[in-house]
Symmetry: C2
Subunit: 423 residues, 2 copies
């Protein structure tokens, strides 16, 4: 795979205030072209630092992306830094100048010299019109190498990448190819466990690269191959499906909330939730999906025992006998919210998010999950010995997955032993 480096200039990105997301955007968008980002460098708005970083990248790779510092003010010096490296003058980019003048006229503002400076490009490069802003990008040949220049604001960065650069990549005489990638989104298995299962079926191979990305309660597995190995990729993907089985919840990059939403919508089913330790997180995740009101009717945040009794119909003596964090109460909550909302499914979570409230028998991170439907109720114990935020997040993942498996007619993943950690 041809290698690429990215250099971003911007003191604000090194001040502790803003996170630089360009590397993620670029890497993701380069992947289908078979280009691999190997280094990401952020430097301050300093002429020496910018030229040093760009020269370093040009010594290592054939394609260098440079972003930021294309505005009209005194700290926007990327053009000057590049002119020092490749030589030549700065000249106006006619298309961008016209667009700039139209834009300023529409706002009723005069076009100052500072404004006009934004439309300058290197005469040795080609200007790339910026459909989301003013400053154009640039494609600058440098010997056998190529420098692509992009504006810094993320929306403009993406826009120039899509409209100005990608259409040129295929025509550049670069040895690029369209890499094939199969995605498998998994939950209920750890990254190590997945890697061990894949090793047993001989993955990775020299032809099939395997990538992993683990987040709380889910792992993305990517199988990547060159187009000539398409048949092998499909064969290996089938094998991976067999060894991961029900742990695979999707084969596109979507979360469990959207997976569950699509299943509910497709099956014309409705859902209500009863949240204790997650405090609203599951509802928040479900309603982050546009159109969720078609299947999600609402729920109860039962953060007190009174609410569990009054709003969900949990018998008080059940709480007194087994505790609020128990299989019995989780089941009653799921059945209670289903009955109250008149939905096809009721989902419940009750647990100890911590940092206080744990005991030897029920340590912090102990969570009971339940899903009720017309056929009955399934409940599951988990124990996530971690921080409050993570207990909440893992619990929401597991609750959504318990529902996902129910919707797909699969059995629940194994639960935990009381008092022992499980992930």
């Amino acid at each position: 795979m041809p290698s690429v480096e990215l250099i971003t200039t911007g003191s604000e990105l090194l001040s502790g205030r803003t996170v630089n997301t360009h590397a993620r955007t670029l890497a993701e968008k380069l992947r289908p072209f078979g280009l691999k980002l190997v280094r990401d460098t952020t430097v301050t708005d300093d002429l020496g630092a910018i030229t040093d970083a760009v020269r370093g990248a040009l010594s290592r790779v054939d394609i260098v992306f440079v972003s930021g510092g294309l505005g009209g003010t005194s700290d926007d010096i990327t053009r000057d830094a590049l002119a020092q490296i490749v030589g030549g003058n700065l000249v106006p980019h006619p298309e961008s100048l016209v667009a700039l003048e139209q834009r300023y006229a529409a706002m009723g503002r005069p076009v100052t010299d500072v404004a006009r400076r934004q439309a300058l490009i290197l005469e040795r490069g080609e200007g790339l019109l910026n459909p989301a802003g003013i400053a154009p990008g640039m494609a600058i040949p440098f010997g056998e190498k190529m420098i692509f220049v992009l504006p810094g604001p993320p929306r403009e960065f993406s826009a120039v990448l899509e409209t100005g650069i990608f259409p040129r990549l295929g025509n550049m005489g670069l040895p690029v190819f369209q890499a094939l990638e199969n995605l498998l989104e998994c939950t209920g298995l750890g990254e190590t466990e997945i890697a061990e299962r894949l090793e047993k079926i001989g993955l990775p191979t020299p032809e099939i690269e395997v990538g992993y990305c683990a987040a709380s309660g889910q792992v993305e597995v990517r199988l990547i191959a060159a187009p000539k190995n398409a048949a092998l990729l499909e064969e290996k993907t089938v094998a991976v499906r067999a060894v991961l089985g029900a742990a695979i919840y999707a084969e596109t990059r979507i979360g469990l909330e959207e997976t569950v939403g699509r299943l509910l919508a497709a099956q014309h089913k409705t859902l209500a939730i009863a949240e204790s330790c997650t405090g609203g997180l599951i509802g928040h995740r479900l309603t982050s999906i546009a159109g969720s009101s078609a299947y999600f009717l609402g729920g109860v945040i039962a953060y007190s025992n009174d609410s569990k009794v009054r709003d969900l119909g949990v018998p008080r003596e059940l709480i007194e006998r087994h505790g609020a964090v128990s299989e019995e109460v989780a089941r009653a909550m799921a059945e209670g919210v289903r009955a109250r909302f008149g939905t096809d499914f009721g989902v419940a979570v009750t647990g100890i998010a911590g940092p206080d409230g744990g005991t030897a028998a029920k340590p912090v991170g102990t969570v009971w999950l339940a899903v009720a439907d017309a056929a009955g109720t399934v409940a599951k114990l988990r124990c996530f010995p971690t921080t409050r935020d993570h207990v909440k997040l893992w619990s929401s993942q597991q609750a959504l997955d318990l529902l996902r498996r129910r919707l797909q007619g699969l059995s629940a993943a194994p639960g935990a032993t009381p008092g022992r950690p499980s992930w």
Copy 2:
């Protein structure tokens, strides 16, 4: 200011999946020590790339932070790269090895050689116990320079920074100074509006630096000065308090959920919430605070009209006459949830999160917020013409702020005109 560079290793950070947030964390935490981050480099897990990047940084600055690649698997090679640069062997860090063995014993897992590798450090450096994980950090003197090594996972990165590195910074003989910083967390005013008000009172000055950090619905203002200008800093902070007034919700770095939680706890008041378009987000935020069950009793996610009527006692004819997104319904929801839960306060949100469901009179982003208590009910209209996620986030901010002002005896911030954007 002494300069610092950061190098992070991790192919997953260059794959398009994960955003690298270390630079923001580090820069923010270094600021009070008078240390400035000038370059942030991310490289793949490649021995040559790591040594090249570390050597480059050592040629430019006196303090280099290196993060990532400290696990036990074959792609964790940061220790080897550093050993190539500074020389010497890898040796176990006794404290970390003991912690590792205890941890594995608690999980009932055997301590393999791969696991033990995580506790290795350079014999020429000092191990820094990792309170949030297994792999220790390191402080490695290199001639007159210093290399600090940190684990890659963000929680561990921050933990070792706080417990292992900052206590050493003052004792390193480096020309660092403890800059003074006053924080003002604001909501209800935009960054530009705040900057204009500060300019009118002569800020920034050569002695008082002003930093801004805007996120959805809140702006952090930082006034920074050298210790010799402490008196001037206090004087200017008093002036800033006067011009920003009730927009300041805290003077430490806490969110609105914690601010509201502290006010409720201090006043021995209780809260219940009725969420429509926010779908559980406000409950999720409130319950992210440890101990929130002392004042937060729960709520209703009323994502359907039936739920608003059945669970909150909103008269159905109110919804039919004014629509679910209306002042009348918001008020009835706040009063209804307060009555149901028997709390001192009831908070309600009803709005159009989009992308569908907007009309000319009530465009996407139209949100009604209400707070009910024994003295009556306040309601407020806002319109956030943005994406679904942001409408939800802004709505939660505004609802928490409406409650905050009520708890502090302040009047509500001005609302919007129907159909017109407001932030």
